[in-house]
């Protein structure tokens, strides 16, 4: 391609690149820098982090736990569903499952939060069914609107996304290897874990990392399901800003959440390099 068309290409991308820089990279850099800023004394400081951890270290821990547990459960659920879609032998059941699992795919978090707020409440449908089915006594009915509610909402909302990616990746694999393993007497679970999942691990990781980042920045679900302490860091950030106009501590918390994401991304990249370096 001649240099002229490269220039045209770059020029065509300019509006999108400028939008990205002005509306994303600049505010992100701003938030990362301002986490270290003492605005009154106009100096650089670590005091914002000290204050953030002093007030909110429980919430930081709580956030890590909730997001990690949710990511893990999303991984397990999506492997099971996508695995059955790929290896299931009963056509009717596979088709039914394919139709069922996708419903929450594009449902926004704020709607999922509202659905769960009613469903998981003390008199919500879940407890009613459990009581009617004789599984629990009416007095045992408790509200799930705490950390469990957040995890359930996240898993409900994000599993279809990861499953969609996984099922897509599994569908293009070479089926003859599974069938060979099946003919040699391997059970379906073993085929799934030892043959299918290793071949789609990159897709699985990408889906899980995107979900992890997304859950890390959801504000509506923790506010709606569990606003009492301990809660997620996003709630604290919104609180610092709306109640105190305190961007310093909010940005310090923001920095911590970005750092948590960076740790995951780093593990992923390191894993990727290792796999590429392996002679195979």
């Amino acid at each position: 391609m001649p240099a002229k068309s490269n220039m045209t290409g770059i020029a065509l991308m300019m509006p999108a690149l400028i939008a990205l820089c002005v509306l994303f990279i600049y505010p992100l850099g701003y938030s990362m820098l301002w986490a270290f800023r003492d605005e009154e004394r106009d100096a650089w400081t670590l005091a914002n982090f000290v204050k953030a951890l002093e007030f909110y270290s429980t919430d930081v821990l709580f956030t890590v736990l909730i997001v990690s547990v949710s990511t893990l459960l999303i991984g397990v659920c999506s492997i099971v569903i996508a695995g059955y879609l790929t290896l299931g032998e009963n056509r009717a059941a596979v088709n039914l499952l394919r139709w069922l699992y996708r419903w929450p795919l594009f449902i926004p978090f704020v709607v999922a939060g509202q659905l769960m707020r009613t469903f998981l409440a003390k008199n919500g449908m879940m407890n009613n069914i459990l009581v009617s089915g004789g599984i629990i006594e009416p007095l045992q009915a408790v509200s799930f609107l705490d950390w469990r509610g957040i995890v359930i909402t996240f898993v409900w909302k994000q599993t279809p996304f990861v499953t969609l990616l996984l099922a897509g990746a599994m569908a293009v694999l070479d089926r003859s290897t599974f069938e060979a393993a099946r003919n040699l007497g391997a059970g379906r679970v073993r085929v799934l874990i030892q043959i299918v999942v290793p071949q789609v691990s990159t897709t699985l990781m990408v889906g899980l990392i995107l979900s992890y980042v997304l859950m890390m920045s959801v504000l509506s679900v923790p506010l709606m399901i569990n606003a009492q302490s301990p809660t997620m860091m996003t709630v604290d950030m919104a609180w610092r800003i709306n109640s105190y106009g305190d961007y310093e501590v909010a940005n310090a918390l923001g920095f911590i959440s970005v750092a948590m994401t960076a740790v995951v991304a780093w593990f992923y990249l390191r894993q990727g390099i290792r796999q590429d370096g392996r002679p195979e």
């Binding site: 065509l12 994303f24 707020r117 469903f119």
Partner: protein, 270 residues
Amino acid sequence: MTARLKSAALLRGIVLGLFAFAIFGPIANMLLWTVAEVWYYPHKLPIEWGFSFWERVFRPQGNARVSLINSVIIALLTVAASLLVAVPAGFALGRGRLPWRSLFLLLFLLPQAFPSLAVHMNIARIFYGFGLNGTYTGVVLVHTIQGLVFSVWISTAAFAAVDYELEEAARNLGASPFHVFRTITFPLALPGILASAIFVFLISLDEFTGTYFVGVPDITTLPLLLFTASMEGNYQIASITALVLLVPSVAFMLAVEKFLKADVLARIGA
């Protein structure tokens, strides 16, 4: 053997039934709330049924009406803004042989790779200086960035899926590059571009966090209305708003494969 098959079928039925309950239970519970007039613990079902809350939501001067109109206006403007920046970028990335093409594609993924809350609260602070808080422009800009990766990636895939040879043939017959773009490349990429437009529309319609920080105090969209009603304990209004937002999401989920054909889908992000 038949007994084993029967028990396997039974087990399969039970598991699928539980799964269906997990998916539809929360939706069903919300539907019940939309037609409940009075419902409190420990009653398992609403005590009085009716549509009076629907009237309250949809009456001409109501908050919901304003939020609905705001949401639609903002979503349409966001689609226009996204297409304006994403179609040229998608054309450059999908058709040309740009240097560092995959790097540019990854760049647009960045907004999805960082927790967005830290960004949104600072955008609100920066916008405050420009008087953009509480304006349509401010909210549309925030939504455009949220949808950027989808609009750019899907348009790129749509342009990449157009057959080179058709363009070559037109060029050989003497058509100018712009004429080729207007009569061949663009019409063939159009279904993919429309899919990205629908996607962006939906993202904007559902966006919460950015609007929460940038839209205040003047702009309320449906997600914010739903949130406020829910926090005030007004579950009927919240559930009706949730239903209004649920319908386009579910419709798009059911139709997504019609909009995004396999040849485009396979090229997304590649």
